[in-house]
């Protein structure tokens, strides 16, 4: 991640995740209502998230989380859940107060403390409800060794980069072969649809493949 999200941005992400689990589609209005914030500032904040590649929102469409946005939102949610559990189950704080405090603490707690906290909870608190993180079973095209053949499974990106990748022929189901790596380690040379394509590892990492 380029830069740490501000607490309010984190709240937006979390809200979008929340809403998308219950509603079919999330609109700016829904988010504004839920957070009790004006539509204009919600719009602005969503714009910020779009720039960071966390959500997609085009001219007239709904707001949707990108792969990165979802995993970020889930991380925040996870922190929230862990903290709430700690407050309620271990410290016996009133659930309502716990919810509010967790909301505040989730933004500031460091990754280190959180990791320690989780292992503490796992050791001492039984019956914890697992918060699942999405599992990654595919390899990234950027991680393949030279000479490896693989089938494209997914492009984890959005907007114009994704389109360009696809339009160059890196479509799902296509077989690719990594032919070489530039002398300084980047970009890579990939054989696709019978021609050689060079792309930076950064772009290649957006292409998920299954080695054949």
């Amino acid at each position: 991640m380029p830069k740490k999200l501000s607490p309010s941005m984190q709240d937006y992400l979390e809200t979008i995740l929340d809403l998308s689990s219950t509603d079919d589609e999330v609109r700016i209005t829904d988010i504004a209502n839920r957070l009790n914030i004006s539509k204009a500032s919600t719009n602005q904040a969503i714009g910020g998230l779009v720039k960071r590649g966390m959500v997609t929102h085009r001219h007239y469409g709904p707001v949707t989380l990108t792969e990165m946005g979802r995993s970020e939102a889930e991380k925040i949610r996870y922190r929230h859940d862990v903290l709430k559990k700690l407050l309620i189950d271990v410290m016996k704080v009133d659930p309502e107060v716990a919810e509010q405090d967790a909301c505040l603490m989730e933004h500031t707690i460091s990754q280190e403390t959180l990791t320690k906290l989780v292992s503490f909870m796992e050791t001492y608190v039984v019956g914890r409800e697992e918060t699942e993180m999405p599992e990654k079973t595919y390899t990234r095209l950027s991680d393949l060794m030279v000479g490896t053949k693989a089938i494209i499974k997914k492009i984890v990106s959005s907007g114009s980069i994704k389109k360009r990748i696809l339009e160059m022929g890196l479509t799902v189901g296509t077989t690719v072969e990594v032919k070489g790596v530039a002398p300084m380690g980047d970009p890579i040379d990939v054989l696709v649809k019978g021609y050689h394509l060079s792309l930076r590892k950064k772009e290649a990492s957006l292409v998920l493949v299954e080695v054949v």
Partner: protein, 687 residues
Amino acid sequence: MSIVLEKRPEREKRPAPITVAVAGNPNSGKTSIFNNLTGSHQQVGNWPGVTVTKKEGQLVMGSTKARIVDLPGIYSLGAYSEDEMVARDYILSGEPDVIIDVVDAGNIERNLYLTTQMLEAGGNIVIALNMLDEARRQNIHIDVRALADRLGIPVVPTVARLQQGMKELVEAVLEDAGQSKPKPFRIYYGELIESELEILEELVKTVPELTARLHPRYVAVKLLEDEDWLHKKIEALNGDTRERLMMAAGDSINRLRKHYGEDLDSALIEQRYSFIADLLKGVVTRSEDKKEKDTFTEVVDRVVLNRYLGIPIFLLVMFGMFQTTFTLGAPLSDMIETFFAWLGGWVAGGISSPLMSSLIVDAVIGGVGSVLVFVPPIFLLFLIISILEDSGYMARAAYIMDRFMQNLGLHGRSFIPLLIGFGCNVPAVMAARSLENKGDRLTTILIAPLMSCAARLPVYVLFVGIFFTAYQGLAVFSLYLLGIVLAIIAAHLFKKFLFRGEEAPFILEIPPYRIPTLKTALLHMWERGSQFLKKAGTIIFAAVVLVWAMSNLPWGVEYASQESLMGMMGSWLAPVFEPLGFGTWQAASALIFGLLAKEIVVGTLAVVYGAGEVGLAAAISSAYTPLSAFSFMVMVLVYSPCVATIAAIRRETDSRGWTAFAIGYSLVLGWVLALTVYQGGKLLGLG
């Protein structure tokens, strides 16, 4: 998946001349075909408002007349860079009566992607199935008849390199121009998408603004893809229609999202590719025996792109480029200089009035001469660049250097222009044109003058020879290094503060090696070189005349003396350079003259000190200290690009603002650095 094929109704032949656009993927052979069709009847200019080369020509074939336009290479109609937008807009504008779509037969699958896009939009397309010789060598066989039948458009087999198929191509184009728009070409996108397309298409049909040039179905597809250019068009419509279209598009997208999620875009593109795959079944056959064997290109690349050999080979190629340019170019430039000196002397002998003679000899002849000395290196450099580009090596150079250039926030392709800058900044600025991304291009243009060009060397040599005899090499090297370090810092700052937009992705084809044709290379050389002569020539010439006038006015004053306008300006500016250690009118005048070309600084110093070669060294060693000499050299390195470079910047950025900025920032930077050197040195007790 089915292809709808219907006969096109005949329409009466329209009166010539018609307009034909040559479109296609990069490296498919568009320019070769364009050159074949137009011969030397070409005009090179810019597309309005952007610095993208526009090439237009007249068809020369019998009595037929047609206007032909060579478009920048594109992979699809979804444009990402300025070049691509120019091509896309022109194709969709409806201006061309026929579009020749140049398809690389050896790479037909990806090439046909653009074809399907143009067909969906509703253009009149004739395919030039090019590079058939190459395809044959790779044992790829293409059934041209079947391809034409399935696509429903004419397909002409060509080998542009050998001028094969050109006559047939022209015939097909002329025939096609006489026919009305073909029946819509359709790609079947699957039941769900089709039902939404139907709804949108009906709605789009009611909006004449959108369907004047584009097929309604194409507009509907682009609504689903939420393309920016279409959105802009819709925003410009009246309120009611706009709302209805936006609502409908939003609803359709939302309904499809339920099924496709984030992957609606992917679904559309994948459908097109699978349409192409189906289309090519039975049309393209590959003999299996050769398939597993590596191609010639792959064998060569195993060496050229090798982990250990790649960079040395690259450096060798670059070194060769320089050596050729400057070893072949320098004697030619010298000859031109000598010729103009001789011409000047000859003319001067025939004119009695000294002022008149000086005007003609120093200003006019000198002015023309100082433009023409640029010709040999610039023409040679562009000849070599063109050969490297057409052979396929340039794409590999970008691939090899990209990692390094990423450190500067730039693209692999920026390396070549910057390297050229060490020879001469003018072609460096011009070579930046190969960069697609505008931010990258401007950054490269702005930092290229920091590369210490060959013209600055004589200045260093003069001063270093006087003050740093013990470590001449080191002193000169430190100046080159300073230029590079400054360029790196400047690139970072410009990218960070001026061109923040998204980074251009590096997704480039590495084309097979091809033997370039001399004709294309020479044409390209002529094109770039003459552009320079035309545009930069006038600026350089004007500057030479201006400086001549300033050195001779007011009337009767001794040439470039302190009493001349130039000397007065030098005296007036001298205080500005006082804190830098060289606050003399002579130094200031030399710097002003140096704007013409930096090596002129040396000659000017000789004139203003009224000294020859030997006397100059004595005069300088008394006027400068080692510290102020170094400070002066730093100033010469950094302060303002020379007028030729300024002219090139003006041309390539097509903006007064950026040109002024290029001059302004380097003036300030040069002054501050020289100040730091001098005052810092004094503090350290080096004064």
